[in-house]
Each structure stands twice: as C-alpha cells, then as structure tokens.
C-alpha cells in the first residue's frame, strides 16, 4: 500500500504524466447525449483528438439525464482519448459510487473528478430525491483511500485490484464567501486531491487575487491547478452568465468586447454577426489562456466548449499549446497498464 504504484505514478494516466513532467496541461470537456447514440460520442471525440491531454465526461450535468459518464468514458477509451470521469454526490450513495468506480477502473478509466453536483431543481427531474450521502471532499478522501490504502470507505479491504485514480476536485474562486475559497481548496488538498479544475474564469484580476492566497498557503505546490476557460458564443450568452449564473463572474469589459465584435457589420447579416461573435469569443478564450499562463501556480487549462467542440482546436492552437506533448511511456515492468 502506498501513494505510488509500481509504475511510479499514482494512476499512470496521461494527464498525470503530462503534469508530472511539468507540461502546461490542456483538458477538454464532453457532454454525453440525452440518448443512447454511440456515434455522438465518437464524433465529439474526433473533434478533440490530439488537442487535449484528457477529456472530462460530465455526470448528468445541470441535473439533466444523459448517457452515464462511465458509459461515455468507455467509448472514449476505445477511441484512445483519455477520459476524466466526473462523479457527483447528488445521484449516488457511497455504495453506488464505489461500485461504479470499480467498474470504471476495470474498463480502463484512470482520472476522476469529484463533484457535489448541481441541484436537481435546475434539471429535468426537479421532483427527484437527491442523495448527498457524502460530499465532494469526502468523495475525494474515499477514492484516495481506495487507491492508497486499498480499502473501501467502511474500512474493508479491497480484494485483488484496488482502483488507482488520479483524483481531481473542483474549485470556484468566485463563489462566496470569497475569502474562504482558498481555504476550501486547502481542505480539498488535505482530503488528497491531485488536481483541481476551476470554474470558468473571466475575471482574471479576481482570480489572480485568489491565486495569491493559494500560493501563500502553499497549495500550488501540493496540487495541480487547471484554470477553467470557456469560449463565449454571443454577447447574450456573456450577459446571461454575468447576470443569471450563480458563482460566475463575467466583467463588463468582456461583455463589451463581445458586443463590439459586430461593430460595422450589417445588423441584418445574421450569419456574419454570428461568425464575428464566435471569432471574438474564441479570441477572448485565447487571451485568457495566455493570461493564465502568466499566473504562478496555474498548471494548465480546462477548456469547456460544451456543444461547441469545434472551437477547441482554434483556441488551443491560438494559445500556442499545439502540438500536445507526448508523455513519458509507463515502464513496461509495472503491473499497471493504461
């Protein structure tokens, strides 16, 4: 029992090897379909192939029923694109979570993002009962225990192969109470998180302030922090995110950039306006990534272009992050295989 496997890594995932080697990591995101069509996943995977080091697969995001994260992740493994399984505490108790994770590991998944989960009142089954048997921190602690101590949450030993995940957690630098957010991150680190993916960042100044505190606490040396980046599609989307979405901070300057993207374009030319907005949205994302790279303690970016996977290539390319580095191969003598 140890926190490293015989291959010298915690999990040996591509993401872990990229980060361990000191490369600036890029992760993407893929939202499974509201149906059972395998080709939807394959087509989205194709759009992300070679552009990112690993891909988050959401778990019934915004509490809307979709193909399971582990199901869609299995398809990604087949497509040789590394998944990051998202697991929320909303829909499963500790039995179901551990059982699903044993299955996910057996099917080749190596990265896990532990989340609380959006409240069911936002989704398409608002009358559902939620679970929240454990919270996201306890989930981190549980899966780290499964990996490093080879025991279940109850303390029972895991027979034969214990699942060895590279364990992530989320952080929202803009949630309230703002001054406590770095301490909540510290708790996630204490629980054993290996990497952190943040909420979408548009307010760089405020994020930098958050990172100042994170460095003061020494957290950036204990956990890999991937900054959340999301391209805006229109000024309307920017305004909606600024005004309506709890936990997001979109400065007026960015809304203005999106608004002025269509200056000089005929208001009747819908297509030209749409293209201008999208181009500016991608440029904003590129500029944000460049600013993130300047902040000490940011180990990579998590590009969330949900239902706009085509945007990932120009953004990652524009930010100078292509081609993606090839990590050191795992030692062949190790018992762990990817």
């Amino acid at each position: 029992m140890s926190d490293v496997s015989s291959n010298g890594y915690k999990s040996g995932s591509r993401l872990e090897r990229i980060l361990r080697a000191g490369h600036f990591a890029v992760t993407g995101e893929l939202g499974p379909p509201q149906g059972a069509e395998i080709n939807v996943i394959r087509e989205k995977a194709e759009l992300l192939q070679g552009l990112v080091d690993a891909v988050n697969i959401t778990d019934n995001q915004t509490a809307i029923v979709r193909m399971s994260s582990i199901g869609a992740g299995t398809i990604l493994v087949q497509e040789k694109l590394e998944p990051i399984i998202q697991m929320t505490c909303r829909d499963r108790n500790r039995l179901a979570i551990q059982s699903d994770l044993l299955g996910a590991y057996a099917l080749g998944m190596r990265n896990l993002l532990c989340l609380t989960g959006d409240h069911q009142s936002f989704g398409n089954h608002p009358t559902a009962k939620n679970v929240h048997d454990i919270d996201s921190l306890q989930l981190v602690q549980m899966v780290v225990g499964m990996r490093d101590e080879e025991h279940f949450e109850c303390g029972d030993e895991i027979k034969e192969t214990a699942p060895r995940f590279f364990v992530g957690a989320a952080a929202n630098p803009f949630g309230d109470p703002f001054e406590w957010r770095p301490y909540r991150l510290a708790k996630k680190v204490k629980a054993g998180a290996d990497f952190i993916q943040t909420q979408l960042i548009y307010n760089v100044e405020r994020f930098a302030e958050f990172m100042d505190k994170v460095r003061e606490l020494g957290l950036h040396e204990q956990v890999y922090i991937l900054a959340g980046i999301g391209p805006l599609k229109s000024p309307g989307m920017a305004r909606y995110m600024r005004d309506q979405v709890a936990g997001l901070d979109v400065p007026d300057a960015i809304v203005d950039r999106m608004t002025h993207a269509t200056d000089g374009i005929d208001p009747e030319d819908k297509k030209a306006r749409r293209n201008a907005w999208r181009k500016e949205g991608m440029q904003v994302a590129i500029d944000l990534i460049k600013q993130m790279r300047e902040i000490e303690g940011v180990a990579g970016v998590h590009v969330m272009a949900i239902e706009w996977e085509e945007a990932v290539k120009p953004i990652v390319e524009g930010a100078g992050l292509l081609p993606r580095p090839e990590p050191e191969p795992l030692p062949t003598s190790g018992s762990e295989t990817e």
């Binding site: 609380t116 989960g117 048997d133 919270d135 949630g175 510290a186």
Partner: protein
C-alpha cells in the same frame, strides 16, 4: 415546533367524499402556534366544509373538536365518544396526530387535513423557516449553531458549494446559504478552525436511513411486574 400547512379544500373534500358524519380534530400544540390546525382553524375548516358540501348538494354533518395534544393517548382518549360517533375523522394535527388517532382507534377512518412540512420556527409574523432535520446526531457544536443538514440544499458538511452567491443559495434567491451563515458566525467568534478539518462521512444510521427510530429509557419505564 412542527410546522404544517393546510391542504386545499378541494383535496380535503375528496378525502371525505363518501362520508356523512365528519369530525374535524384540531390540536392545541405546534399546529396551533403555526396557525394551521388549532381550534380556530378547526372551526373555520368545519364551517367551510359545511358550506361547501351543502353547495355541492351533499348532506354532510361536520363538527369539530380540539385536544391539547393529539400525539399523546391521554389527550385523545377523552374524545372517544365523538370519534366513535363519526364516520370519518379529519385530523388537522401534524402527521403524528393523524397516526396517533388511527393507532388508538383502529376501527376509525382517519385522514389528514394538513401537510406536515418541517421542524422550524417563526422568523417573523407569518413566516416560518426550517431549522432541524432530526438527523439523530447533532453537529451544531461545530457549525456555529447553524445546521447544514437542515439548511443546506445539499446537506454539505465541508463548506459551501460553488453556488453560494452574495450570501444566498443558488436554488432560491430567498434562501440564505447555510455555509455563508456558518462562516460568518464562526469568523465573528474567531472559531473558524472548527471547519478547517475535513469532516468525515456522516453516520446516517441515526437518521431516517437507519429505519424508523425508537428511544427506550429504562429509567423512565414503569416497573414491569415479575410475573414470569
């Protein structure tokens, strides 16, 4: 207190539809204080049902009575004659009161006139808020006297989720974020260290998840004769 609110008249009428003699039973404790099922409400409900069913062309006889506490045998035993005389009892006590009458009078049909809603308190005239989830393992000592089980929509034990904004919960702009309240309270008392450690998974077996709960206090039980 136990906080409840009255069901719609339409739903209540459906529950008593086939019965002639209806006895509305109010309760003088929690539901009186929250203006849902006290003597006043029992009288108004009985009167409303008399008028409403008469308009519908029915000949129901609706009477009412209120006991001090519907959840104890000693208070519901004295109204045995009224209960036995009725075709149906419409209890406007909390869910415990309804079940107490049903249990004590097995032959009687008992239906609820209230929806029992939560354990809480009035925060101002006409406003009640939930405060306790009766989880069976109180953690208020480490959360500044504010319960995240009852007051956080996700029952989080390790701090606020990302949806806490300007002190409010993302699921309802009128609902304060329990963890913002906890943070503010502990900060003002210089006791933030209480929430810095990772709280382990909660033992829910003392909660409803462990099945129906029961407390037996041998020190209080009446002596059982040594007849065996």
């Amino acid at each position: 207190m136990i906080v409840a609110e009255q069901k719609s008249l339409e739903e209540i009428k459906n529950l008593i539809a086939d019965m002639e003699k209806v006895l509305v039973v109010g309760c003088g404790t929690c539901v009186t204080v929250c203006f849902a099922g006290g003597d006043k409400e029992a009288g108004i409900l009985a009167s409303s049902l008399r008028m409403s069913t008469k308009l519908d062309g029915s000949t129901k006889e609706v009477t009412h009575i209120t006991v001090q506490r519907q959840c104890e045998w000693e208070y519901i035993d004295p109204i045995a004659d009224q209960i036995n005389d009725a075709d149906i009892v419409l209890s406007i006590g909390c869910g415990i009161g309804v079940q107490a009458i049903a249990e004590r009078y097995p032959e009687t049909v008992v239906v609820p006139g209230l929806n029992t809603t939560f354990l809480g308190l009035p925060t101002e005239q006409g406003v009640w808020e939930e405060r306790c989830a009766a989880c069976g393992e109180c953690i208020l000592g480490i959360t500044g006297g504010i319960c995240p089980i009852a007051r956080c929509a996700k029952q989080l034990l390790n701090g606020p989720c990302g949806g806490s904004q300007n002190g409010m919960c993302e699921i309802n702009p009128d609902t304060p974020c329990a963890w913002q309240l906890i943070y503010d309270k502990l900060k003002s008392q210089d006791r933030l260290h209480l929430i810095m450690d990772v709280q382990p998974p909660k033992n829910w077996s003392s909660s409803r998840d462990g099945g129906p709960r029961k407390i037996t206090r041998e020190d209080l039980r009446l002596a059982v004769e040594d007849s065996e």
